[in-house]
Symmetry: C2
Subunit: 243 residues, 2 copies
């Protein structure tokens, strides 16, 4: 691995326990062999995206790229933020997915509202999962962003555990709401066209705290990112370097 660069960090869904052998899929194999120019005996970090990070030794670089797991570390998630998002305009969800994945958000829950729906979700979700995986590697996280199937606002609120903290991105909301360094949280952001007054009332009745994120009026995806940054800023002690 290049002396100056951080060691390679790969997403391997079927990670093995210590001593186990991992055969890489085409894309990570190419990345490790061609981009990082790894040699047999080099080490790389692997994550399964659900909390495990392994240190593994490269043992084969031919038609199959293989590593043997030499050490495994569990990284429990101290807290999670799920983002319930109304549909942003056009392709703006693409970069939103990348940024949410980088920031370590647990799940993107697309929300259908009366003013906007998530069109062509299945086709776009495949792309978003690739973007989220790339961001997981880039950010050297241990938890992949989960991209859920769209859900109607009413259904999401109905299934919501009120013991979880809920915050609504809202221009009429409170300022200076503090994030918490522990406990789970759900952030709700309306679509580009906004929630209707009735939808907003039902969200507030369900117990969400309205939170004002900026002096300016934000686009839907910018508001979602602002909620993510707000939450990420109350960082925990889970260091991600050095693996």
């Amino acid at each position: 691995l290049p002396a100056d660069a951080a060691p390679a960090y790969l997403f391997v869904p079927a990670l093995q326990p210590e001593g186990g052998r991992v055969t890489l899929a085409d894309e990570p194999a190419h990345y490790l062999a061609r981009v990082c120019r790894a040699r047999v005996g080099d080490f790389a970090s692997l994550t399964d995206g659900v909390g495990t990070v392994a240190r593994a030794e490269v043992t084969a670089l031919g038609s199959r790229v293989e590593l043997v797991v030499r050490g495994v570390e569990r990284r429990p998630r101290a807290r999670r933020l799920d983002l319930w998002c109304g549909a942003p305009e056009g392709t703006r969800a693409d970069w939103l997915v990348e940024k949410l994945a980088e920031l370590g958000i647990a799940a993107l829950q697309p929300i259908e509202t009366s003013r906007a729906t998530w069109d062509s979700f299945e086709r776009r979700a495949a792309r978003w999962r690739r973007l989220a995986e790339a961001a997981l590697r880039q950010s050297r996280g241990a938890w992949a962003l989960e991209i859920r199937a769209p859900l109607a606002l009413e259904a999401a609120l109905g299934a919501w555990d009120r013991m979880t903290r809920g915050v609504l991105a809202d221009v009429l909301g409170k300022t200076g709401v503090a994030p918490r360094a522990s406990g789970d949280c759900v952030g709700l952001v309306g679509p580009a066209e906004g929630l209707t007054g009735d939808e907003r009332s039902r969200v507030l009745d369900a117990g969400f705290d309205p939170m004002r994120l900026s002096d300016n009026r934000l686009r839907s995806e910018t508001a979602a990112l602002a909620v993510a940054c707000w939450w990420a800023g109350a960082v925990t002690d889970g260091a991600t370097d050095g693996v």
Copy 2:
């Protein structure tokens, strides 16, 4: 103007005092006449991007689109954030500019560091200024994002007023640093390749507070956006609606 939509909001650099007549440039003229389908007698909001928002009446919609200013409001800036940014990868600055403008950041100061330079700045800056103007309209702000010419880190530090608060986006920094609802601030974010150890030391010696923004490792432009959201979250009382 469409009954359901927010009133048109336009960027007019040469805004007039009350009673003055404004002739729109081609792009805002098209937007007002064709997109908003304004009629003579309708009202629109105009901003000069330096703190003034006017309410103006449409008086002509022919080959020249004209409005007469009926009321002017000054919106002093309660505080400002200047972002000093090392170069992000590729075209990633494009959306960064849009988001900084939406969030009401005062200035983007590109910073040249030993590991990365802002290539083709002049050509790209023209595009960024258009993106910033569009975001100003979208967010109904009164202050346009200023896009400055690149400056070497050393020069920026040399000219820095140490009475201004400075924060450095830094994985080794403190967590839970609180933004302030008043006073100016400079946020510094390294390039995609990072600051060198020597550069980082000089920034800290100059008095910048290192601040950790996330448990994950962030891309350069994501870190810049996280600083912007951190700052924007300590919102002031300057409401932007209702003009």
